[in-house]
Symmetry: C2
Subunit: 410 residues, 2 copies
């Protein structure tokens, strides 16, 4: 299907909601491939620039992709006989900080949008973009249109924010790894936040954070559902991310299994075991703008400790070099070793709060498959383990089965 046909389908879907009596604000993303096309043009002209002035122009450039789809959607809605008007981020305005290419929304003025809704119009708000204090265009980073949508829903106090994505909801785990994976009808906001940060790519994590802060009811559903399915069916499709924990929630202890291959493990061996080790190792790492995820420190022997942590795989070479050249000599550590062939697998479930023995069951399931656990990290509603990368699929399948995720909870 051509790209305008896609926009026409969206317009038909919006019209269905409007004709059922809903007042709609729509936040379209750019047409498929458009953002990449624009950024490639910039890349051709200036492959290596990293200045604020460059990022400012990159945002001016990238913001046009969404403006095109907003205007086209307004036109498509008008062609269906609806009144519609589109606004760029600066017209609303959606105010952000000045962090070009990854700006954060600070406020949204809903006056203009509300007046248009009152006048019977379908309002299109251009996603992914905003306006900083200096009057410059900013963009919100990959998946930023989701965040725009949630932020607009929060500002408008919308009943629900429907996020149409390329999947039909949030699954117990990735169906490409576990064919028995099951779509979740509801998921708590905290679980969604963990799933998003642990590697589930359904929503930009910032959009989930925003939903949490402003208590926006989010529904993740599929943009590939035919526009003309029954509206009640559509209204109950996908996955609802909710704040009402205790009643409508499925009563599973573990709701989902998240995983990723993005990290690498680094161990500093034989560090003299005295106060301040963590700071002396991780201080320089943080100074180099490397984010550290899991951290483990074990006493080894003879007053020496081993210290391990994970970083994003892209940061692996830089971090290794930093440790070898600066940290190890200074600390008097024995060695530093790195392993990029790891994965992280996590079980997530709000039921873990009130159920003992969940982690034990996880370790047992992995043990029965002969999978060695390299690192463990826990929080209130998730347990993560680091494994050899080759065990990823096996581990996820074993855990999915052990926690009975293929079946609807009772």
């Amino acid at each position: 299907m051509g790209s305008t046909e896609r926009i026409r389908q969206v317009a038909l879907r919006v019209a269905k909601w409007v004709r059922a009596g809903h007042r709609m604000v729509v936040v379209p993303s750019a047409m498929s491939g458009e953002t990449n096309r624009l950024l490639a043009l910039a890349q051709e002209l200036s492959p290596q620039a990293l200045t604020p002035a460059y990022y400012r122009e990159l945002d001016m450039l990238a913001a046009t992709g969404e403006q095109v789809s907003s205007a086209l959607l307004a036109i498509a809605l008008q062609a269906l006989g609806l009144q519609s008007v589109s606004y760029a981020g600066w017209q609303v305005p959606i105010r952000t900080d000045s962090a070009y290419t990854k700006a954060r929304i600070e406020s949204i003025d809903d006056a203009r949008l509300r007046a248009d809704l009152d006048a019977g119009k379908v309002v299109i708000v251009t996603g992914f973009q905003g306006l900083d204090e200096g009057g410059n265009v900013t963009t919100l980073g990959r998946g930023g249109s989701d965040t725009s949508a949630v932020a607009v829903a929060a500002a408008m106090k919308a009943d629900e924010c429907l996020i149409y994505t390329d999947v039909d909801g949030v699954y117990t785990t990735d169906p490409r790894v576990v064919p028995e994976a099951r779509r979740l009808h509801t998921l708590s906001f905290e679980e969604m936040l963990e799933m998003a940060s642990l590697g589930s790519k359904v929503l930009q994590i910032r959009s989930v954070e925003f939903a949490g802060k402003y208590k926006v009811r989010l529904r993740v559903l599929s943009s590939f559902t035919p526009w003309d399915i029954d509206i009640d069916e559509e209204a109950n499709s996908g996955t609802l991310i909710t704040f009402e924990e205790d009643h409508t929630m499925e009563q599973a202890i573990v709701s989902g299994i998240a995983f990723n291959r993005d990290e690498s493990k680094i161990s500093v061996l034989g560090v003299p075991d005295k106060p301040g080790i963590a700071y002396q190792i991780l201080g320089p790492v943080a100074d180099a703008n490397v984010e550290v995820d899991m951290i483990i420190q074990n006493i080894s022997k003879e007053g020496k400790a081993d210290f391990s942590f994970t970083v994003h795989r892209n940061d692996h070479p830089k971090t290794m070099e930093l440790l070898r050249n600066q940290v190890v000599p200074k600390l008097g550590a024995m060695d530093v070793i790195g392993d990029t062939k790891i994965c992280k697998v996590s079980i997530v479930g709000i039921g873990m709060r009130s159920h003992a023995g969940v982690a034990r069951k996880m370790f047992q399931a992995l043990s029965e498959e002969g999978i060695n656990i390299q690192m463990i990290s826990t929080s209130e509603i998730k347990t993560s383990v680091v494994l050899d990368e080759k065990y990823l699929e096996l581990a996820v399948r074993a855990l999915h089965k052990a926690f009975g995720l293929e079946a609807e909870p009772a």
Copy 2:
């Protein structure tokens, strides 16, 4: 050449001017074919909409084309080591009326641009677009970037406004018709205005009007000149459109020959010759939004007059129908006849003001070629004739020769 390569060439040219000590504001147009691509998308979604709400969205859409090239040019300049910043029309702001798709510039705030120039930056102002009183994006119509450039030059009180086009200046006539046509080094503003309105497509007529109103020195030059030619050579290339009539001007009586095939002739025959005929015929035509160009009324015989005028060829069928059905019966005229196979040929020259016999020489030249003149219209600095379309090339060549335009004036 790819489109980013073209932008890089523009950046190199701008950098040359900047390094020679000039403070530059640059107004880029959209990348080749981009505006048409965007408008075609709108057309696919809504082929027939003609509402203000539709035109508003069309402007939101079309304005993105120039925003892309502005941001890319800023990036290209930064890659050359220059400081540069781009502004959309609304950021300057360039204020316009609300006539979507053909808005007129009302004011330009130069504060931000001036501060950036003072800070040593090359300022990119996005052409073709503005902001109306209601905070909506507007566009200025085809060729609108020229008008933006002239308006910015006026606001900034620039020394000169360089318009880089796909031709290397203004010619005595179209070189495709007369191979001996000669580039004019200078041309008065009034002559340029006549040339533009008579069919020379070098500049949007509104940009010339704007230059006249604010006395902006315009130079029309070629964007295909290699960027690295000597800067003094470039500074004197093309055609300078000036207000200094009496000294630097070339002393030709006729400066150029303009022509077009856009018009058609309509004659209402046998109209009772009494006061108010013109109004009764042209009133309904104007009410139908048809613009009339040349008008002639002759007494014929027995108290009946013939009344002829020209309209744009696109308006021909509509106008004929209107006259046949409404005007002719009401007036008691004999008939109405139309002719779409005409052309208009004009001689333009500020020297005509002070030289008698110019029109006579024109008529003589046409007569010697056996070309019949159908209508004549004169103004202070131009004489236009309407001819059978088949004589167009012959007439233009004969006039070019008769007025000695192939040779530089003494």
